[in-house]
């Protein structure tokens, strides 16, 4: 049995899964210390199912914590930035083009130092060890403990970054070091940005991951802990603590994978309605559609593969701005009210009218409209039908527009409605052929974490003079697939998510460094995935 947990800003969701079956699920408020909310959620599903902690084989956690920290500029470390590139690159110092508030949070401890490699392997300038040591001593004296190091062409030759790391370690043993080549690919600015963001998340990641670990110990779960990444695959908690930036797009990925899994539908538009926003994404053959272009994280440009998501400001806690004098109006002008974009978020249980609070929210309107049943409807203010209709219609228009923007073909799409606020999506939506609201829709992202895939990566330098390119790529694809299958992946579900080839012009002959990354569904899940698929076809044909 496996446990999937999704730690969101508002709720911590957990599911206990046996193979592909959801045995128990719960939704608990996210706590300030993170760990106690996780412990409570895991404890709850175990006791619901009456399963001992020892029966849990693994725990998969998806978290939007690190994304939120960047978006909210919260709990970030000051970073010492060592760039080994001078004299090249001085026109574009680190964090150029970043939002000022994010750059301010990171600080201005920037060192442009000689170094880096040319494309042909020569050094742009030798590493100046004295200057690196001096920079690190300054950083140490200033109390800067997070250090990001980036050198030119590090994905091809990481030697200089590694040597700089040794020097940092000697001068500042407590420093947490991020090396750009461990995170990113060719594209200096994007890789450096990712390294800086990763360094900034260092202590938060360490705290959050150890809070997860303590939560498991507390309830006696000894199973290994995994954290889900952007592409829907898992990394160990230990890796996630060192490279939190790799987990940054995992939230939407998990809910989309969970939605696909729960419905068996592989091509659809997924609406994940939370307390604050609705994330709209597109499933193509069971995988989130990826964004083709560089993706801004917290406003900084990186080159990660990220799911292509449109977030709109409509969720269960979205505030409805309407003068109470108009609550019982017979007609409501378009400009006399506003939906969001602000939300009461996790304070919905105190502030929404349904719960006796004083703020009119999207949830209140949904209940008043008879679209959902929860809270105490007797606490709702008197609202006239035209008012309810007008506000509801506005929300629907926002949803329809978002669907339209994400669509790739003219026809009506299948819509999967998940997330705690999925009641905001009615059963018929303009532009949708069908709305599917799977069982356990409210915890689809925890399900997505629980069914996260296995992945494998192979990186090798290949000489195309000795082995023809096609043969070499086939061989590497084959090796990566074997690894993935050996790790429990289902052969039919194997998918190449990345194939990067960097030609090394300084080696004799045509040599390239090739990186192949492959993912696959875990065996026990895929089986159920197919069953679900058959089921859903059956329901569609009645």
């Amino acid at each position: 049995m496996r446990i999937g947990v999704d730690v969101g800003g508002t709720n911590t969701d957990a599911v206990l899964m046996d193979g592909g079956t959801v045995v128990a699920w719960t939704k608990q408020p996210t706590t300030a210390d993170v760990g106690s909310g996780v412990a409570a959620a895991i404890g709850e599903v175990l006791s619901q199912a009456d399963v001992p902690a020892g029966a849990v084989a693994s725990v998969m956690v998806g978290t939007t914590h690190f994304t939120n920290a960047l978006v909210e500029r919260n709990k970030l470390d000051t970073v010492g930035i060592l760039r080994l590139a001078s004299p090249s690159g001085e026109a574009l110092p680190p964090m150029t083009g970043w939002p000022a508030d994010l750059a301010d949070r990171i600080g201005s401890h920037v060192y442009l130092l000689p170094g880096g490699y040319e494309v042909d392997g020569r050094e742009i300038a030798p590493l100046d060890e004295t200057r690196v040591r001096a920079a690190v001593r300054e950083l140490r004296a200033a109390g800067v403990n997070a250090i990001a190091i980036t050198s030119v062409f590090a994905p091809v030759n990481s030697g200089m970054e590694a040597r700089a790391a040794e020097l940092v370690h000697e001068e500042h043993p407590e420093a947490a070091i991020t090396l750009s080549h461990a995170i990113g690919r060719i594209g200096f600015i994007e890789r450096e940005n990712a390294a800086i963001l990763n360094a900034a998340l260092g202590s938060l990641a360490a705290r959050v991951v150890s809070a997860f670990e303590r939560a498991l110990v507390e309830i006696g779960v000894q199973a290994p802990l995994y954290i889900s990444q952007n592409d829907g695959t898992l990394i160990s908690a230990h890796q996630a603590a060192a490279y939190p930036v790799l987990t940054i797009g995992s939230g939407p990925t998990n809910s989309m994978r969970g939605a696909a899994f729960l419905t068996g539908v592989r091509d659809a538009i997924v609406l994940d309605v939370g307390g604050t926003t609705t994330d709209v994404g597109v499933l193509a053959n069971g995988f989130p559609r990826e964004s083709s272009v560089s993706v801004d994280i917290g406003g900084a440009r990186t080159n990660f593969r990220m799911p292509d998501i449109l977030a709109i400001g409509l969720g269960g806690g979205t505030r409805i701005h309407l003068d109470p004098a108009h609550y019982e109006a017979e007609t409501l002008a378009d400009d006399s009210f506003r939906v969001g974009p602000d939300s009461v978020g996790f304070r919905i249980v105190e502030q929404a009218r349904l719960f006796g609070g004083g703020t009119l929210t999207a949830s209140d309107i949904a209940v008043a409209a008879g679209r959902a049943q929860f809270g105490d409807p007797s606490k709702l203010p008197a609202l006239s039908q035209p008012v309810i209709d007008a506000v509801w219609a506005r929300g629907q228009a926002m949803i329809e527009e978002a669907i339209d923007r994400m669509k790739t073909s003219r026809g009506d799409a299948v819509l999967l409605a998940v997330g705690g606020g999925n009641f905001l999506i009615p059963d018929t939506v303009r532009g949708a052929a069908q709305v599917i609201r799977p069982p356990h829709a409210a915890v689809a992202n925890a399900v997505g974490a629980a069914i996260a895939q296995v992945g494998a990566q192979i990186e090798q330098v290949v000489s195309y003079d000795r082995e023809p390119r096609e043969a070499a790529l086939d061989r590497l694809r084959g090796q990566a697939s074997e690894q993935v299958i050996a790790a429990g992946g289902v052969p039919d579900s194997v998918e190449i998510v990345e194939l990067e080839e960097v030609f090394l012009s300084y080696l004799p002959g045509r040599s390239a460094q090739v990186r192949v990354r492959i993912v696959a569904d875990l065996a026990e899940n895929a089986h159920v995935f197919d069953e679900k698929l058959t089921e859903s076809y059956a329901t569609q044909s009645h």
Binding site: P87, A91, D120, F153, I189, R289, S292, E501
Partner: protein, 370 residues
């Protein structure tokens, strides 16, 4: 409309338009845009003048980056390159430079001269030497029209400076290319010093404002929730420089082979249609050169072929292409000046070693009259 200033919004539109006109090349305008934004924040909008406003005896200098774009996303500029080159050229010419222009409007090179011009206190001319981007220096309209590239100055981000003096523009390109390889795969070049009269007679006039208009159309369409591709096609035709345009293919990148060879980024990309329908094969040498669908040619150089994100309509330069990207390939007719017999000998398929004889994109795709 003829803006005489390039403010921040116009700069962003210029970057978007230049990215499209680069036909995959000219370098990613993102870095040039960041530099430009920082400069505007410091000193205000950039000055832009029309070709007509130049005196016949003015000294006008085209400039831009040469080398492999794949390198330019790793080894970034030092910031002094253009300025060093222009100062040296002024010294050689024995007179001050009156204005600069992009050697090519495509990609980052469409924005490249802005900074140096601002620092020298001279304007940028609303024109360029290619009307798009081409991999080699002798492919500029000035060589096609028989003007000399020399004296020219090549500078690097490590501070080196070389003057090239040759009688022959092809030889000039060879020397400059060799230098760019020696300098680490990317270098800055000022070349084809022109009189105002020659610039007026031969440059592709209005291409900066055209790029801004294209970028603006895409931005406005996105903001209005309208189809950015439709807006792009219409804006291209409206410029008067690119009379036909449309979509060539829609699909996902399934293979990509590229290497840095002799100072160029050369390679091939294969795009598969969704639902397994059709397969586009495209070859590039910095810029996209020829696109075939299931063995049938759909566009060839000098007509423009640009790979774009199929949702956002962002242009993707060849160095940013990646396995798995979902893209739309868009084509546009090259400016008339590049389609003469004389021009095609230098910028047509044959000049790139392609076997096919040039056929206009509108004929290949049956696009009628735009």
């Amino acid at each position: 409309m003829q803006p005489n200033r390039i403010d921040r919004e116009a700069l962003i539109d210029l970057a978007t338009g230049a990215a499209f006109l680069g036909s995959g090349g000219g370098g990613d305008p993102y870095y040039a845009r960041l530099l430009g934004e920082a400069e505007i924040a410091r000193r205000g909008a950039f000055g832009l003048v029309s070709l007509d406003s130049l005196a016949d005896d003015a000294l006008v200098v085209p400039c831009g980056w040469i080398g492999a774009p794949t390198v330019s996303v790793e080894k970034l500029p030092n910031g002094r390159e253009a300025l060093n080159g222009l100062r040296k050229l002024a010294e050689i010419m024995g007179k001050p430079i009156d204005a600069v222009m992009p050697i090519e409007i495509g990609g980052g090179n469409g924005l490249a001269p802005l900074l140096a011009a601002a620092e020298l206190g001279i304007p940028v001319v609303d024109a360029d030497g290619m009307g798009r981007a081409f991999p080699e220096s002798q492919m500029a309209i000035f060589n096609i029209e028989g003007l000399s590239a020399c004296p020219s100055v090549v500078t690097s981000s490590c501070g080196s400076l070389s003057v090239i003096e040759t009688d022959d523009n092809l030889e000039h390109e060879r020397q400059a290319r060799k230098l760019s390889v020696e300098l680490g795969g990317t270098a800055h070049m000022v070349e084809y010093p022109l009189s105002g009269a020659d610039a007026k007679a031969h440059a592709i006039g209005g291409s900066i404002t055209a790029a801004i208009a294209i970028g603006r159309a895409v931005r406005e369409a996105r903001a209005a929730g309208a189809d950015p591709f439709a807006a792009l096609y219409a804006a291209l035709v409206d410029t008067g420089l690119y009379p036909h345009s449309g979509a060539l293919f829609d699909g996902k990148i399934v293979d990509l082979e590229r290497e840095t060879r002799g100072g160029f980024s050369v390679g091939r990309v294969i795009i598969e249609g969704f639902n397994g329908q059709g397969r586009m094969e495209m070859e590039f040498q910095n810029e996209n050169l020829i696109a075939t669908v299931d063995g049938v040619v759909r566009a060839m150089v000098p007509d423009l072929i640009t790979v774009m994100d199929r949702e956002t309509a962002d242009s993707i330069t060849t160095e940013r292409l990646r396995f798995g990207q979902r893209v739309k390939v868009v084509g546009a007719a090259a400016p008339d000046k590049l389609r003469t017999e004389r021009a095609l000998a230098i910028v047509g398929p044959g000049a790139f070693g392609l076997a096919d004889a040039y056929r206009p994109i509108e004929t290949l795709n049956d696009w009628g009259n735009g």
